[in-house]
Amino acid sequence: MSLKTLKPGYSGEVKDRLENFNGNQLVYVGWDHQLLFCAPFTLAVSPDIPFGQLRDQVMASVFSPHPEWTQINWDSAGWLLDGKAFVPQLDVSLQAQGIDHKSLLRFQTPELAGFMSAAV
């Protein structure tokens, strides 16, 4: 079903187009089975930054208050990009490895069970 409108040919203005973010793109990042942070984060970053910068600077700025952040073993952590298994390349830009505007990145750290082993 499409929108029923008074007149034919109606279309809505896409509010969150890439061009509206002043050179940045959005990337959403969530830490699976980790609920100290109540929701994933919305990060506005340049599409040209390497993945390493996203992880170690931008993500660290929001995730590091968690006491287990520094214990993450990135060699064994798993990643999902828009629902599909993903192996990030640290030196390659986001854009060049398919992380585009409004992509969702999720990471898993199964060896870290959180506070009281309750995924906190």
Binding site: M1, S2, L3, K4, T5, L6, Y10, S11, G12, E13, V14, K15, D16, R17, N20, F21, N22, N24, L26, Y28, G30, D32, H33, L35, L36, F37, C38, A39, P40, F41, T42, L43, A44, S61, V62, P65, D82, G83, H101, K102, S103, L104, R106, G114, F115, M116, A118, A119, V120
Partner: protein, 500 residues
């Protein structure tokens, strides 16, 4: 000789149905241009049963009598320093949420019913909408008056209508009503009169009004009583709308079902705010959110949908998901607001040990296992002098606009993610319910004004979060927001009560 005074029946006929007229030189279809585009077929408007059974003069008389009593109580509350009689200063925060989140919806309902009422060819429906429109205007006015007394003594009440239009979490109720008001007139009635007023209103009204009664808030209780007979009429209108549409034409059934599915889901997402108010913000608890959901939706709603089955209407889609979520949503929501408590126009706090035990008792299957550990962690951090506030902005659902804080019901430590791609652009949702609503009408929801995205586009001032809060949201930063502990609200309360 004609009687000097009309009998009730004649008066009713003359002042309702007789207000309509025939169109002799204008095309009736052009006079009511919104009546057909939604696909609803009306064969006979005269079959509309007036749910209100009221004429305008009687209506004014009743409402004026209620107003007199109501304002006498407001005066008494003010003269007797009613704000010092509430159970605990934390209670005032439930009122701040109501004033900024719910009262503006009364105004939206006023506007919505005024517009919708104009669009119906049937005079009965027009008059019902007109009266409800006036009711809703009265509700927003009396709510503002009821709470104006608290505004003199507590922070966070001062700029409620401005905040409603801008503050991140208030975009949840605002976008709900914007969605309904930008729909056609029949969808508006199914959304607001039926799905919201009839099916879900008890879950909004009873918690706030009983909450007021349990917590010594005479002004709000009295407002509640004054609005009760109006709400009863609104519910009757909701039921009449559904029965009328379903009886008019069988082609209406699938359209109405789709609207019920959509608005039931949107309504329950909106009520997430009420769930946390009941379980966490009321110092004296009325009942748990889970219990309220069971009484007011599962029992009452179950009977309703059994009754509607004869028209071919089934229970709303995803009702079974919501049944499981009743164990979780209030805890997830209060954690969201606690952890973003530096960006809220009300205070947040860690529940007391007694409250944590109450939650364990009310939620034996979920609280200790999933939610108590978060509060233990928060307590530990607070004891170290590091009260926990999340840095960074959350990801929002493109439909309900709530952060993606809901978890999978078969895997409650995993956040739920849903997405879709429309015209090469990716959109994210908190649930199947919100996903389906977008997919059905993408051209509407690509326009969602998502507060987080708007901040990141630079449309809300800044650059820092505090600049946005102070200049764009008009919060008194340091007074309206942050923890209850150490707040000016708490300090004033302690000085009134002579506590050091």
């Amino acid at each position: 000789m004609a009687a000097k005074k009309l009998n009730t029946k004649d008066k009713y006929r003359l002042l309702t149905r007789d207000l309509d007229w025939e169109f002799s030189y204008e095309d009736r279809k052009q006079a009511f241009p919104f009546e057909e585009f939604e696909g609803i077929k009306i064969t006979d408007w005269s079959k509309w049963e007036d749910p209100f059974r009221l004429t305008m003069d009687t209506y004014w008389k009743y409402q004026a009598e209620k107003e007199k009593k109501l304002y006498a109580i407001f005066d008494a509350v003010a003269q007797n320093n009613g704000h010092t009689n509430i159970s605990d200063p934390r209670y005032a925060n439930a009122l701040k949420l109501f004033l900024t989140g719910v009262s503006p919806l009364e105004y939206q309902a006023h506007q919505g019913f005024a517009h919708t009422g104009r669009q119906f060819g049937g005079v009965g429906a027009r008059i019902a909408c007109q009266m409800q429109s006036i009711d809703e205007l009265r509700h927003v006015q009396t709510q503002v008056h009821a709470m104006s007394h608290y505004n003199k003594f507590f922070d966070g009440f001062q700029d409620w209508s401005h905040m409603h239009d801008r503050v991140w979490y208030l975009s949840v109720p605002k976008s709900f009503f914007d969605d309904a008001r930008s729909a056609g007139p029949f969808e508006f009635l199914v959304a607001i009169s039926f799905s919201f007023e009839y099916v879900l209103t008890n879950l909004l009204f009873v918690p706030f009004m009983s909450g007021a009664a349990y917590n010594g808030d005479m002004a709000t209780v009295t407002f509640g009583f004054s609005a009760q007979s109006d709400e009863a009429r609104h519910m009757t209108l909701g039921l009449e709308v559904i029965k009328f549409l379903l009886e008019q034409h069988e082609d209406n059934v699938p359209i109405v079902q789709e609207w019920i599915d959509k608005w039931f889901w949107r309504g329950t997402r909106l009520l997430t705010l009420v769930s946390m108010m009941m379980d966490y913000m009321l110092p004296n608890k009325v009942m748990s959110w889970k219990e309220a959901w069971e009484v007011y939706f599962e029992e009452a709603g179950g009977a309703l949908f059994k009754d509607l089955a004869r028209y071919g209407i089934r229970a709303p889609k995803y009702a079974e998901t919501i049944e499981k979520e009743k164990e979780h949503v209030s805890h997830q929501a209060w954690w969201l607001f606690y952890s973003y408590g530096d960006a809220t126009a009300f205070h947040t706090w860690i529940p007391s040990d007694e409250e944590l035990d109450w939650l364990s008792e009310k939620y034996p299957d979920t609280f200790d296992k999933y939610y108590r550990p978060r509060w233990e962690m928060a307590k530990k951090m607070e004891a170290q002098g590091k009260r926990f506030y999340t840095k960074g902005l959350p990801q929002l659902c493109n439909c309900c606009q709530i952060p993606l804080m809901f978890t999978e019901m078969d895997n409650p430590t995993q956040l739920a993610y849903r997405d879709t791609v429309y015209k090469d652009e990716r959109y994210h949702f908190c649930s199947d319910g919100c996903h389906d609503i977008f997919v059905a009408e993408p051209e509407k929801y690509v326009q969602s004004w998502l507060p987080v995205h708007q901040i990141l586009q630079g449309n809300c001032g800044g650059p820092g979060l505090e600049d946005v809060l102070r200049d764009y949201y008009r919060m008194n930063v340091g007074a309206d927001n942050l923890d209850m502990k150490g707040s000016p609200d708490e300090q004033r309360w302690n000085s009134w009560k002579g506590v050091a």
